[in-house]
């Protein structure tokens, strides 16, 4: 049904549109993401940023257009199939299992034993333990493995959710406002973490904090009313008169 051709991009979004009762939240969007690229999407409230992530991960179904991930069409896959294809997504408010320990949160995200019977027979062996410890160290929670996740600080919850994605080793990592509610120091640590994990994969981030964006972004795209307003280096984008108009004009 889609005429789009194969590309070298990790993610190729072409002519993507979604309309809710006639309101086009995303309007004819074209967007490409390279391997090893950390791309930040910014834009005022209601610009359609979160909707784009929802469309990629299958939470919302598109009205028309194509989303190709490693040349695989995602628009007709279900949510868990998209995850299995290699796409991981962090939600805006930390979405973790509050009643389970950090270890159990990571274990559930471990990409083995995802079927009904696989999960019944799943063995928490040395390989799994090592992987969990490795990821926990990466997200600076190695000392909190047995802490109930609900007791973590807001920033630590954000890290845990990032860790839950990392353990799946996704080719595309999508983070919706990863530093919301974090202290200055935590923001610095998160920036470092994101720079590290963008190696070997593609990362798509939605963020409002411009200082943070400047620190991590390889490329920035400004979304406004479901359309791309500007795209490129942070410096160029900041100087763009259209962007200044949208952010300061009203």
């Amino acid at each position: 049904m889609n005429m789009s051709t194969n590309t070298d991009f990790t993610l190729a979004i072409e002519d993507l549109t979604v309309s809710f009762d006639g309101f086009k939240a995303v309007d004819n969007l074209n967007f490409y993401l390279d391997r090893n690229e950390l791309h930040v999407v910014i834009g005022p409230n209601g610009a359609g940023k979160t909707t784009v992530l929802d469309l990629i991960c299958g939470k919302t179904k598109s009205t028309s257009g194509s989303i190709k991930f490693l040349n695989k069409e995602l628009t007709n896959l279900s949510e868990h199939e998209i995850v299995l294809a290699g796409v991981g997504r962090k939600f805006q408010t930390p979405s973790i299992y509050e009643n389970l320990s950090v270890m159990e949160n990571l274990e559930i995200s471990y990409p083995k034993g995802r079927g009904v019977f696989g999960s019944l027979m799943f063995k928490h062996d040395a390989v799994v333990r090592d992987k969990i410890l490795e990821v926990a160290t990466q997200i600076m929670l190695e000392k909190a493995l047995h802490t109930e996740a609900g007791l973590l600080s807001h920033g630590q919850k954000q890290w845990l959710e990032i860790g839950m994605l990392l353990i799946q080793d996704p080719q595309l990592l999508m983070l919706d406002e990863p530093v919301a509610g974090m202290s200055v120091k935590e923001r610095e640590q998160t920036a470092e973490l994101l720079n590290k994990i963008s190696e070997g994969r593609s990362v798509l981030v939605i963020e409002h904090d411009m200082e943070f964006v400047a620190r991590i972004a390889h490329k920035v795209t400004v979304l406004h009313q479901g359309k791309i307003l500007a795209s490129g280096d942070m410096k160029d984008v900041q100087k763009d008169p259209k962007v200044i108009e949208v952010y300061l004009g009203h």
Partner: protein, 384 residues
């Protein structure tokens, strides 16, 4: 080895709880109770299967089914159909206008055994049907609901509606099902008299072993990754879905498993009580099963068994003296539990049990201290 042990019993506390329950139902009850009372406890324990199934489905899975009576009933009816066919041998039913078919069919001018009754001549088929028919039925309901992401209150209402439909169907098709009276007058199993005391005692023990086996199997599920996924789904279903799980499949599986163990309870009910009727299929028994689980503790497999026993002892004791009051009392108890002790008896034990043991220790210490103090005084006295 320790791995297997942990999977089946949980921690040490879990093992102790399991052993206490096993000792209670396998030793204490049979020793203390006469055969009539023991048979009554056996009947209560068949409801415990449904209560345990609700711990899995509702407590851990977060999906409340108000229709476990459906599966309890299917299991019970399957067993009753086999026993009824055996009781309706041509010799036993020679006075009927059509000998060899169950009496209620004859009363309803049915002259030939309906096709779906035929396989129930075989005991092995019956055992198979007890386990498989409810599971398939649950799969159909579960797939239809969960794949469409119907859950929560809607699921509860739909299961309740299904249980009403099934009751209406059974009552309405009197000639095929025995109607409102159910299937009664069940006497022998492969020629062996099931109404004798010795048969009833044997069924009691089989029932206990099956219940303990079901608890072990359920604990295996809950301690596996599956169990943690259930908890995770209850908390954040979307996160589980976006971690690469097909959430519906997990719900369907636990619903099917819950249906199967409820059906085992139903079949054991028929064997011990000697009949099956629509009054164990509909809304009231289904909700009672939820109350058993809620009062026992919906997060505790063993608690659910105690909840079932306690409520049924209460029901028997109270309804003998104040039959009208009992329903109000049970309703009140249910509301109180939901409002004040959401984790039921097991939750109370978790929260206050250690206070109790601490207090006991304290009293013990006090006594031993006062004893040693008394000794000291005595010693002084003897010196002077």
């Amino acid at each position: 080895m320790s791995f297997v042990y942990e999977k089946l019993f949980g921690d040490k506390k879990g093992l102790i709880g399991f052993c206490i329950l096993a000792a209670l139902i396998l030793v204490v009850f049979p020793v203390m109770l006469d055969s009539f009372r023991l048979n009554l406890v056996g009947k209560y324990l068949t409801y415990a299967f449904a209560a345990v199934s609700l711990v899995l489905l509702w407590g851990y899975g977060g999906t409340l089914s108000l229709g476990q009576g459906i599966f309890f009933g299917i299991g019970g009816y399957a067993m009753a159909m086999f026993l009824k066919l055996e009781a309706s041998s041509p010799e036993n039913t020679a006075i009927q206008s059509t000998p060899g078919i169950p009496d209620f069919m004859d009363w309803n001018q049915i002259t030939e055994l309906p096709l779906f009754w035929m396989p129930f001549h075989s005991f092995s088929f019956t055992l198979f049907a007890v386990l498989v028919v409810p599971t398939i039925f649950a799969y159909i309901i579960g797939a239809a609901m969960f794949k469409r992401r119907v859950g929560g209150v809607y699921f509860a209402i739909i299961t309740q509606v299904v249980s009403v439909i099934l009751t209406v169907l059974i009552v309405g098709q009197q000639g095929l099902t025995g109607g409102i009276n159910g299937i009664t007058d069940l006497r022998t199993l492969n020629g062996w008299d099931i109404t004798s005391d010795s048969a009833k005692t044997l069924f009691y023990f089989i029932n206990c072993f099956l219940l303990l086996a079901v608890i072990i199997a359920s604990r295996f599920i809950l301690t596996s990754k599956f169990g943690r996924i259930l908890l995770a789904m209850r908390d954040k279903e979307d996160r589980v879905r976006f971690s690469g799980y097909d959430v519906a499949n997990f719900k369907i599986f636990i619903f099917c498993f819950a249906a199967m163990i409820s059906a085992i309870g139903g079949a054991m009910f028929t064997l011990q009580v000697g009949f099956m009727s629509p009054s164990f299929v509909g809304i009231v028994p289904s909700i009672e099963m939820v109350i058993f689980a809620a009062i026992g503790g919906r997060m505790s497999l063993i608690g659910a068994v105690y909840g079932t026993l306690l409520i049924n002892f209460g029901k028997t004791a109270f309804s003998e003296s104040f039959p009208e009051l009992w329903l109000f009392l049970m309703g009140g108890l249910f509301i109180a539990v939901v409002m004040f002790f959401p984790n039921g008896l097991a939750g109370l034990w978790e929260d206050y049990g250690h206070h109790l043991t601490k207090r006991l220790d304290f009293i013990k210490n006090l006594f031993s201290k006062s004893k040693s103090a008394a000794d000291a005084i005595e010693l002084k006295g003897s010196k002077s």
